[in-house]
């Protein structure tokens, strides 16, 4: 087999593993680990598709650094009031759009299914992740992660990150 193909597969696998770890972290309520999937210098936002398309800057959630990621989690745990729920993330169509040894850019489709206290599960949100992944001492981490969501009507509220 060609070593090139193998290298490409390995890179794909490492990116896929990062996405899977991201999913597992959020779906199993390990929110405190969530900021650790990001590089120290990082950016995260949840952006409505309509603003993205129109070039407008307002996001639903916008964290400009790792401290802000941690503050989101802290506020969810300690301050905010919302109905207890479970998320299940599903991703597909992962595309690596550029890759160097230090940085990878990629995008993927995602869906989040949510279960509330009534025990019913609904499609909560779909969208597209647009990610920049950087090599850190701890391995690949998100330098930037943007969730550009299709489901413009946010049902009730969005508390937990997607």
């Amino acid at each position: 087999m060609s070593d090139d193909r193998m290298q490409k597969m390995l890179l794909w696998w490492e990116m896929q593993q990062l996405q899977e770890r991201y999913t597992a972290t959020l779906d199993n309520d390990r929110l405190e680990e969530w900021p650790e999937l990001f590089a120290d210098d990082c950016f995260y936002e949840i952006m409505p598709r309509e603003n993205e398309m129109a070039g407008l800057p307002i996001a639903l959630v916008r964290c400009e650094n790792k401290g802000m990621l941690r503050d989101r989690v802290l506020s969810l745990r300690e301050a905010n009031i919302y109905e207890a729920h479970v998320y299940r993330h599903f991703t597909s169509g992962l595309e690596i759009t550029a890759a160097s040894t230090a940085e990878v850019t990629m995008q993927a489709s995602y869906a989040v299914l949510q279960t509330l206290q009534d025990g019913e599960t609904r499609v909560y949100q779909t969208g597209r992740y647009v990610d920049r992944v950087v090599k850190t001492a701890d391995g690949w981490r998100y330098g930037s992660k943007r969730a550009i969501y299709d489901t413009l009507r946010v049902q009730t509220l969005l508390a937990t990150p997607v």
């Binding site: 307002i58 802000m68 049902q155 509220l157």
Partner: protein, 427 residues
């Protein structure tokens, strides 16, 4: 069961009774009755009110349009070729199809896809394919008058860049509708050109009036929203102002202004939330405020009945549009904006502070949670009433955060506008 129980399923508008004229007791059926909802469409949204549609900044150029709603009627607001505004019902005069099929766009010519009847930006019928027939084939009848078959037009007016429309031919001008008490506060925010920054949308399984209660309720602010207290953010004592408009009592303004007195002790005395002193924000810059106005108002919450809430919180500026979606749901659209002359740093602050408000806002996300809890609590028992008593003995006290006076005023006005039974009829 000490409290007598009204027959809770007879939720028709005729059977509904407000047991007190001061608005302090509201029968829960107003939040879930289909009959009340239908009456609201007639008496409120098609009645003598002006409904907020959006910002002029969303449709700056000729041909720009936006599809939205007045109550549950789909309408389009657009800027015509000469820069004036027009608003019409989004329903073809021919066989009733929605003409405009996208939420936003730019055109001076709107064509219904079904048979390509064509309308100009004013809603006038400008083209009917084959109207004069073709060869042996007849077209439209002799008595068909295109000028009588345009789209249904609404009156549309703008006040300081805020767009409103009404179905009513008799309601006063928008200027007078907003009224003398409210206008200065609208002016406070809309005193110079704005830049539209985008929108977010939230859908809540609760009645639209629960959201109006919420924005007229200073009492809940520190009790439901625990962000500030949790993070030990020193909030110097606040001066509060609550004003309802004199004419209807349905619009209001609520402001909080920083002063020197520390309210933290008051919380502790009330035992309502104990501080965990160790919790601090990692990045407190989120709460940086740049003073923009003379008075250091940190919260300006101003509902203009029935579809608008103007909001300034710190440096965030938002025009919230409230859309009723049947008795049990509402949609809330947050239109974020800044000023056209914002320096880059201030613009960036507004974008960052958007984290505070909207569907994921640190100090706002609880509001729809609360309105949904009320919806679920009240829907099974429409004959029971709420108890809206805080500061009921001090109806004139307008400098208190511990009050429900704006809510009482609202319900009294709502009952009149809707022509529902009050205490006099009941007793």
């Amino acid at each position: 069961m000490n409290i007598p129980h009204q027959d809770y399923r007879k939720d028709s508008a005729e059977n509904l009774i407000f047991p007190r004229d001061d608005g302090s007791r509201v029968p829960y059926a107003v939040f879930s009755s289909p009959d009340i909802y239908a009456r609201e469409q007639e008496r409120i949204f098609r009645g003598p009110t002006w409904s907020f549609l959006g910002l002029e900044a969303e449709i700056p150029n000729p041909g720009d349009f936006k599809a939205t709603y007045v109550g549950d009627t789909p309408v389009v607001v657009t800027r015509t070729e000469d820069g004036t505004l027009a608003c019409w019902v989004n329903r073809c005069a021919h066989r009733g199809a929605m003409v405009c099929r996208t939420p936003r766009g730019n055109t001076l010519s709107h064509t219904c896809v079904y048979h390509q009847w064509n309308y100009d930006a004013h809603g006038n019928l400008s083209g009917v394919p084959f109207s004069r027939g073709m060869k042996h084939m007849k077209g439209m009848p002799a008595d068909f008058d295109p000028s009588c078959n345009g789209l249904t037009k609404l009156r549309v007016e703008s006040y300081k860049g805020l767009l409103f429309a009404t179905f009513s031919a008799t309601v006063e001008s928008l200027f007078d509708y907003i009224g003398a008490e409210m206008r200065p506060w609208v002016d406070r925010i809309f005193y110079k050109p704005i830049e539209y920054l985008g929108c977010t949308r939230q859908y809540s399984k609760s009645n639209w009036k629960l959201y109006l209660e919420n924005v007229k309720d200073p009492y809940h602010a520190s009790l439901l929203h625990l962000f500030h207290s949790t993070f030990n953010i020193a909030r110097v004592g606040m001066k509060v102002r609550t004003i309802a408009d004199e004419q209807y009592g349905l619009h209001s303004i609520l402001t909080t202004t920083r002063n020197e007195e520390n309210m933290g002790d008051a919380y502790k005395q009330q035992n309502i939330q104990t501080y965990n002193e160790s919790i601090r924000l990692h990045d407190p810059s989120l709460l940086d405020v740049r003073q923009e106005y003379d008075e250091l108002i940190t919260n300006h919450i101003q509902p203009i009945f029935p579809q608008l809430v103007i909001q300034q919180i710190h440096n965030t500026l938002v025009a919230r549009q409230l859309l009723a979606k049947g008795p049990n749901n509402f949609e809330l659209i947050f239109h974020y904006f800044g000023y056209a002359d914002d320096d880059p740093e201030l613009r960036a602050m507004r974008i960052k502070q958007a984290n505070l408000v909207g569907p994921s806002g640190y100090i706002s996300m609880e509001d729809t949670e609360a309105t949904e809890l009320v919806q679920r609590g009240t829907a099974p028992d429409g004959g029971r009433t709420s108890v809206i008593d805080m500061a009921r003995d001090a109806p004139e006290q307008s400098d208190s955060m511990i009050t429900e006076r704006l809510i009482r005023t609202f319900w009294a006005g709502y009952r009149r506008l809707m022509d529902l039974q009050g205490a006099g009829d009941e007793r």
